[in-house]
């Protein structure tokens, strides 16, 4: 794994200001990347310092008793059922990648739209058959990608499982899946994709990724 989210994006994530679609991509990378986890933890400390040092507001006199009432007489709960290391993505596709009902969108490329509605990002799983490619495109805004399986290359580099890629309107690329296995990606796109190749351009009005 050699491509990581910028510290800037990790700050948006840890401050809670990133929308759900983008945050899901960041989380999926963090699940696999020790180094980025460490940066994210440092950034949580930044948030903690700010919260601790900011002004305090006085609370209603009865707030503590209202909290106690809601605790009832029950003891603190045992550790939650969420097991350590469980994947955020698995809560959206409990049957795993094998169970995804792919929809074919072009030669060798299928997609599945994840049920995330955050008002900004369109979030999809994309499967590119080995050796096949996605039409050359650019973006009007942001495209975040995490590679879940296999690998691909484009004009900007070569990527393998776990890699995190951030693209915007300054990038024009044509991803080609590596030949050894199908490539599966998690992608969050804000704004629109614009196809730029000769054939792809014809698709602009037709295809919504």
């Amino acid at each position: 794994m050699s491509h990581h989210p910028s510290e800037h994006l990790l700050a948006e994530f840890t401050s809670g200001s990133l929308n759900t679609g983008a945050a899901l991509c960041v989380r999926t990378h963090l699940e696999q990347c020790h180094d980025c986890n460490r940066v994210a933890e440092d950034l949580n400390v930044l948030g903690a310092v700010m919260m601790r040092d900011s002004d305090q507001a006085s609370c209603s006199d009865d707030l503590f008793s209202r909290v106690l009432d809601q605790l009832g007489s029950s003891a603190p709960q045992a550790p939650f059922s969420r097991s350590a290391g469980s994947k955020a993505l698995s809560s959206l596709i409990p049957g795993g990648i094998q169970s995804v009902p792919w929809k074919k969108i072009a030669g060798g490329v299928s997609s599945y739209t994840l049920p995330i509605n955050d008002g900004e990002y369109s979030v999809k799983l994309l499967r590119v058959e080995k050796g096949r490619s996605v039409f050359q495109h650019t973006h009007t805004d942001t495209e975040l990608t995490v590679l879940l399986q296999g690998g691909y290359s484009d004009e900007l580099g070569s990527y393998t499982a776990g890699d995190f890629i951030e693209c915007d309107g300054s990038h024009v690329h044509k991803p080609v899946a590596h030949r050894d296995q199908d490539c599966i990606l998690l992608t969050a796109v804000s704004g629109k994709l614009r196809f730029t190749g000769a054939v792809g351009r014809l698709l602009n009005p037709l295809v919504t990724f």
């Binding site: 759900t20 400390v45 310092v49 919260m51 707030l63 106690l68």
Partner: protein, 193 residues
């Protein structure tokens, strides 16, 4: 400069341990007294709350109930109490904002913004030093850059919302964030040398 001393950090962790082990309500009251005013001020600033004391106190309640419920999950080798409580309060705030925006998501906030499960010895000590160094660093960076970080962390505002608030280009907000983090990182490295 406010320096969080060792004794205070130990005391907070001790209270949390007492809640986890004995459901100690006196210890919980101490934690409540320490955090409730800070969480309320933090909550008041978030866009979804728009200054409503009632809603801010709901965030305080929900956060403190989670502190009680999750106390047994707290591991002092993984995070200091301040950072742990911050992540819980942040998640409650994200949840409230989502409800306000009526965004129907099939994924829970805690599934994405979960607390870390990276084990790390000495994290407690490291994070405490880090907190002191960050505090010192924040006083040294350019105030415009520090303000952007405050808007993000304390008010939960996106880069776009910050750009709109100050009527500056999105690119300017992004570069201020980048510069602030780079400068902070540099100051931290100097301290570690």
């Amino acid at each position: 400069m406010k320096v969080m001393d060792m004794a205070e950090a130990q005391q907070l962790a001790g209270w949390l341990d007492a809640v986890a082990a004995d459901q100690d309500k006196a210890a919980f009251k101490q934690l409540f007294d320490h955090y409730s005013g800070r969480i309320k001020a933090f909550a008041m600033k978030s866009p979804g709350v728009s200054g409503s004391a009632t809603l801010a106190e709901e965030i305080v309640q929900e956060t403190m109930i989670k502190v009680w419920n999750k106390a047994s999950l707290y591991d002092r080798s993984k995070a200091n109490v301040d950072a742990w409580v911050y992540t819980i309060a942040r998640n409650v705030r994200i949840d409230i904002q989502r409800r306000n925006n009526k965004h129907d998501n099939c994924i829970e906030v805690d599934d994405i913004w979960q607390e870390s499960d990276e084990p790390g010895p000495l994290v407690q000590l490291r994070q405490r030093q880090l907190a002191d160094n960050i505090r010192a660093g924040l006083e040294q960076i350019n105030p415009e850059q520090a303000l952007v970080l405050k808007k993000m962390y304390l008010e939960g505002k996106s880069q776009r919302e910050i750009a709109e608030e100050f009527n500056i280009p999105l690119g300017t907000v992004k570069s201020r964030t980048r510069l602030a983090l780079a400068r902070l990182r540099l100051l931290l490295q100097e301290k570690e040398l």
